[in-house]
Symmetry: C2
Subunit: 258 residues, 2 copies
Amino acid sequence: MDDDAPVTAAPVPPSAGSARERARATFTADLLAAARRQVAEVGAAQLSLRGVARELGVASSAVYRYVDSRDALLTLLLIEAFDDGGAACETAFARARAAGASAGETWIAVARAFRAWATEHRHAYELAYGTPVPGYVAPQDTVSHATRVWGVLGRVIVAAAADGDLAPLVPPADVRGLVSPAVLEFAGSLADDGRAAPGTDAEEGVVRSVVLFDALVGAVSTELFGHLHGVTTDADRLFDVTIAAAATGVGLVLRPAA
Amino acid sequence: MDDDAPVTAAPVPPSAGSARERARATFTADLLAAARRQVAEVGAAQLSLRGVARELGVASSAVYRYVDSRDALLTLLLIEAFDDGGAACETAFARARAAGASAGETWIAVARAFRAWATEHRHAYELAYGTPVPGYVAPQDTVSHATRVWGVLGRVIVAAAADGDLAPLVPPADVRGLVSPAVLEFAGSLADDGRAAPGTDAEEGVVRSVVLFDALVGAVSTELFGHLHGVTTDADRLFDVTIAAAATGVGLVLRPAA
DNA sequence: TCCGCAATGTGAGCGGTGCTCTTGACACGT
DNA sequence: ACGTGTCAAGAGCACCGCTCACATTGCGGA
């Protein structure tokens, strides 16, 4: 009631911009929320622009004023998903390290956080880490968000190297030339103190991160996609064992905090 | 030309059954072939009954005479996919063992075969091991086909135990009560000579198989779904390293054949 | 103050989808 | 030779993504 004030009133109530810009912002937010809700209910592949329009009580064509296409909407949700999962891993990492956890313990904490996020946001996980939506290719804007999880895993390896918790690979693997230069550069920027631990091979570190990533996505995907259905009586514990085995596989020593 | 013979002729030319039954069988086969082709081209989620009807030069409604629904058709293709992937693993296993390969070498051969199959039949892999098709729940008939890969991985572990190539898990994992009884029974049936190697814990063996399975699906999925895009310059070698790390993680010793 | 423009919402419409149901033709077994 | 039952066809329903011409409305400049 207070909002439709006299003619020239209220130039900048809470947010900036003209009334139109504010309306646009709030409607866009509502649209994204509705889309998020719909993805959570029926999955990304079933996301329907007409459906969100219905939910918003608006003509289906109106949605196209705010979003280029269904794919563009999917891209927004995909970025959100990557950011959400990445943030979950990042806070788990930070919290574990702040609590003095060893690199191995940190890896387990990160993996658990990732799995918890995936379980709670099943469809967001599917969107980000499941089968690519058919006919849809993720634009370049998404990769920077997708790398957040990678960054955390890389820092786990860096921390392990710094703490002396990184055993040699068994059997020794020749990783020379395996990693693309751009990724090597990205990996080089991960060490907190600006310098990698002595004797650490950056290329081998990236390979270890890849193995951890594969194990993580593999464990979560098989569980969420039903391939472990009826296999175990305690999925939580099985996940922990799986994740621990992955650590051992990359030479990440699992020891309690010092 | 020879087929549309005179009125009462040719009771049982090559296959059995009446002319109607034979026609039905061949048409069903054609239908499946067309569906297979379409899945290979555009993916399972884009499989269109109208599309296969078009390809067969038939009305879309006619397809429903031969298949209950789009989902039923998907089920047939899903079973095919599981069988195909399972067969690839089985022949790789048999071939490696026949050549005297160690359990570790056999694991690598199986993993490579699985990856090769997945790469060649991308959409079949997606159908079987990717995000479940939304709104579609795989019927019970599919599980027996899905277990073929599991059987191979289980036999890898059994072989390793028999050959003394199975190191204890590091760190030791308490796997008591982790595995469902039905799966334990299935695992018990895998030993070729009818008896598990002495000192082998069946439950722990299943857990090792799960870890291998997760690593396999994880490695293939991340690669096929684009998460390793631009990371490596040699995906084949990276896969091998990943698979070797998984073996080490479950205590599967990688040694050359005796 | 008023006018023109741009942003916005609408609804019809196009071509596509899965699926159902009626209708008519054909082949089969008796 | 004839009933019976299988079959393909096509219309139709409800949904989808997307486009476009059309009103409306709010904004900024004259």
